[in-house]
């Protein structure tokens, strides 16, 4: 074969191009790229659609925030279980994954301003007459590991908590009759109990949301610059009522 070897010249050119690409944003002052971790198994806030794109309320919200604040988000689908550890290790810049602002989390990480209020709610099989979480004493209730839903179930004496890696697995277990209820955020509960065709006939939501929580974007402790950028964007989004449009689009 006649040599198509471009040899050392090509390597040098490629290296220069790479250096320029990496240095470009820093020098040109172009839009900063912020890597965002999200656990895309939490519909309708973040999920993977049929074409394997990450979509959802959180995605659209953060994209709008980024547009107002002047940075480019790059989304990474990350398992919930290690999502905080990854942030602390610097694998990505922030988390946008329906993270409730709690005191314990605030000790280890910094939050942006709250961007939406939700509550935890209980989902049970349709045939069940129970009215609240306390009525499931002696039974098993599922929640996703490390979520505020799991923490709520733990607070009730006599209810056994089963933690799942994904909330979908918890609903699957409830469909199979292995657990008596699932506790999760209201939008997600609504998605599974009211919209999913295979679960619509089997599950119902009982009662009202029993907590008042706010979601915030999470950044590494001390990253004040990113927190300010996010807060600026959130203010602008709320002022322009983009958040209400997104609520209509994604939530119920």
């Amino acid at each position: 074969m006649r040599g198509h070897s471009f040899g050392p010249l090509a390597t040098v050119l490629a290296g220069l191009c790479l250096a320029a690409a990496l240095a470009g944003p820093a020098f040109a002052g172009a839009a900063r790229t912020v890597t965002v971790a999200t656990d895309a198994t939490w519909p309708p806030m973040e999920m993977v659609d049929a074409s394997k794109k990450i979509v959802g309320f959180d995605i659209d919200y953060l994209t709008a925030v980024a547009k107002e604040a002047g940075f480019t988000p790059s989304f990474k689908n990350t398992a919930w279980d290690g999502i905080f550890a990854g942030l602390a290790a610097g694998r990505y810049d922030m988390i946008a994954s329906s993270v409730t602002i709690t005191e314990e989390r605030k000790k280890q990480y910094d939050f942006s301003d709250p961007y939406i209020n939700v509550g935890q709610i209980l989902v049970v099989p349709k045939a069940d007459a129970v009215k609240a979480l306390a009525g499931l004493k002696g039974k098993k209730v599922g929640a996703q590991i490390g979520t505020t839903g799991a923490m709520e179930v733990k607070k009730i004496e006599g209810v056994e908590l089963k933690t799942y890696d994904e909330i979908g697995l918890a609903f699957e277990d409830m469909a199979a009759g292995r657990i008596a209820g699932v506790v999760c955020d209201e939008p997600t509960a609504a998605h599974y109990a009211l919209q999913r065709t295979e679960y619509k006939a089997k599950f119902k939501i009982v009662g009202e949301p029993f907590t008042q929580e706010s979601y915030g974007f999470v950044v590494k402790k001390g990253d004040q610059e990113l927190v300010d950028l996010l807060n600026k964007g959130i203010k602008a989004v709320k002022a322009k009522k983009i958040d209400e449009q997104l609520r209509k689009k994604w939530l119920r």
């Binding site: 602390a88 989390r105 799991a150 699957e172 199979a176």
Partner: protein, 264 residues
Amino acid sequence: MGDPTEPPVIEVGDGAAIPLKRDIGLFSAWRVAFFGAIAAVTYLAITRPDPYLRILLFVPDGILVTFEVTVAAILLALVIGLFTGLGRLAKNRLVNGVASLYVEVIRGIPLLVQIFYIYYALGRIVRIPDLYSAVIAMAICYGAYMGEIFRAGIQSIPRGQTEAARSLGMTQTQAMTHVIIPQAFRVVLPPIGNEFIALLKDSSLVSILAVSDLLRRGREFAAESFSYFETYTVIALIYLALTLFFSKLIGLLEERFGADKRAA
């Protein structure tokens, strides 16, 4: 040694009274690892009770569940393995075919996929409680591997043994039960012990089914306290101590049955 005119050298050892040369020495790999792991965990728990002592107080029921799953799975897998090994040696084409199909299929699917399948896919048809489906999945998977070990063990017994047993008037089954399998036991003990240790570690996969084993307890603790490094260090050390403990038990079994020495 090997010189026919020299009288054979007989090594006399009687425990501490007249120790064998190789018994002297405090440090063996096993002792360093086992006591090192326990010392490390104790040291961490004493010098830094938060979070190490909290972790240690949180996980004991997980250790119990890991234990239960492992022991139940190994017992079931031994039974499945024995019948599979015999099945693959059977002259009956149907039995041989079924056993071989089982081995090939189960060896071809990853254990984690099997666990998911038996729990969720079959769970739609037959309701199986999570602990049982975890044990069944592990037993089915490891049964295939043990079947091959048993087959190799049985095949390693010289044909002369069967011939002698048959010529003494035993039936094939009697020969197998009373002559072949007891001898094969010595041969298969080291590999089976190996599988036992591997099963203990693979039992951590059942945490994916929300079974509250050691790994899941550790993950739950880490998710709420954000102390990932400390938690996984303790979990790893506990698993190490458990596997070393069992490997010692297997070693003692091997010594008891002479499986740690050459055959003749």
